[in-house]
């Protein structure tokens, strides 16, 4: 699925600005990554730094920072969690976030409460698709993928 060339995956969970996606992993952790919208706005990503594993992150405190040549900002966090681990492939090659935004997770976190409670603050499925497309239209975002 896509809007304005921006890929959307209905099985993932999103914040209401569609900056990040969240996926339930087999080990019970939650993977966090950037959406196609976010990687497009950022441009070629040059640096990613993740909060040290074991760090408690309350809702509102970012799990990571991302820098490109023209953009810098947080990877937002919407629920209380602990950083489980970072994706070292992404730390070594941040451009993976541009090339494969939905495969290149940034961090895995463990929610402080239940997974269901953590995901309750996110949107998914058809509702998320409608919001995602609205964001693309409202901000006139045309997604581009980079190959390196």
């Amino acid at each position: 699925m896509e809007c304005n060339g921006c890929e959307f995956r209905p099985e993932l969970y999103y914040d209401d600005q569609y900056q990040i996606w969240v996926r339930i992993e087999d080990d019970g952790s939650l993977a966090v990554g950037m959406t196609d919208i976010s990687q497009t706005i950022a441009g070629k990503i040059l640096h990613v730094r993740v909060r040290r594993p074991g760090t408690l992150r309350p809702a509102g405190k970012p799990v990571a920072t991302v820098e490109s040549g023209k953009w810098a900002g947080p990877v937002p966090n919407l629920f209380d969690c602990t950083i489980d681990r970072a994706n070292h492939e992404v730390l070594d090659n941040p451009a993976l976030l541009n090339m494969q935004p939905y495969d290149a997770w940034i961090a895995r976190v463990r929610p402080a409460k239940t997974t269901e409670e953590a995901l309750a603050v996110l949107v998914t499925g058809e509702a998320a698709y409608a919001g995602y497309c609205e964001r693309c239209r409202r901000d006139d975002i045309q997604c581009k993928r980079r190959n390196n």
Binding site: R49, R52, T65, V66, E67, W71, G73, P74
Partner: protein
């Protein structure tokens, strides 16, 4: 430290005093870029616009200013900093010298303040940066 992969800094407060303005556009993007990074690292970031920096808060100025030919506009850098959590303070005493009025400042400004507020901010913060 340079090249650190993990973030484990403590929360700090940072004041960025922005004195550069449209006469030196190449000095007008980096402060907001740094503000966005610092705010993303849990720093409490406040940007205080004074001297020529106040011109960046005049409607129509940052929207039409770039630090490099063909680059992002300064208002986009300012909005990135705001989105990351930075707050903007505008120096009221500096406005008359640039023929500016409060009614004509951009919506991104959080507070129009006296010089005393800047003094308080500097004395109470962990780090101060001047651009």
């Amino acid at each position: 430290m340079a090249g650190q992969r993990y973030l484990d800094n403590e929360e700090k407060s940072v004041i960025i005093v922005m004195t550069s303005g449209p006469s030196t556009p190449h000095r007008c993007a980096t402060p907001f870029y740094m503000a966005a990074i610092l705010a993303s690292m849990d720093a409490d970031v406040k940007i205080f616009f004074t001297m020529e920096g106040v011109k960046l808060c005049q409607k129509g100025v940052p929207e039409n200013l770039t630090a490099m030919a063909g680059g992002k506009t300064i208002i986009e850098f300012m909005r990135d900093a705001k989105a990351a959590g930075a707050r903007f303070y505008l120096c009221r005493p500096a406005l008359p010298g640039y023929e500016m009025e409060v009614a004509n400042v951009i919506d991104e400004v959080d507070e129009v303040s006296s010089g005393g507020v800047l003094a308080d901010l500097i004395l109470s913060c962990d780090k101060t940066l001047f651009f």
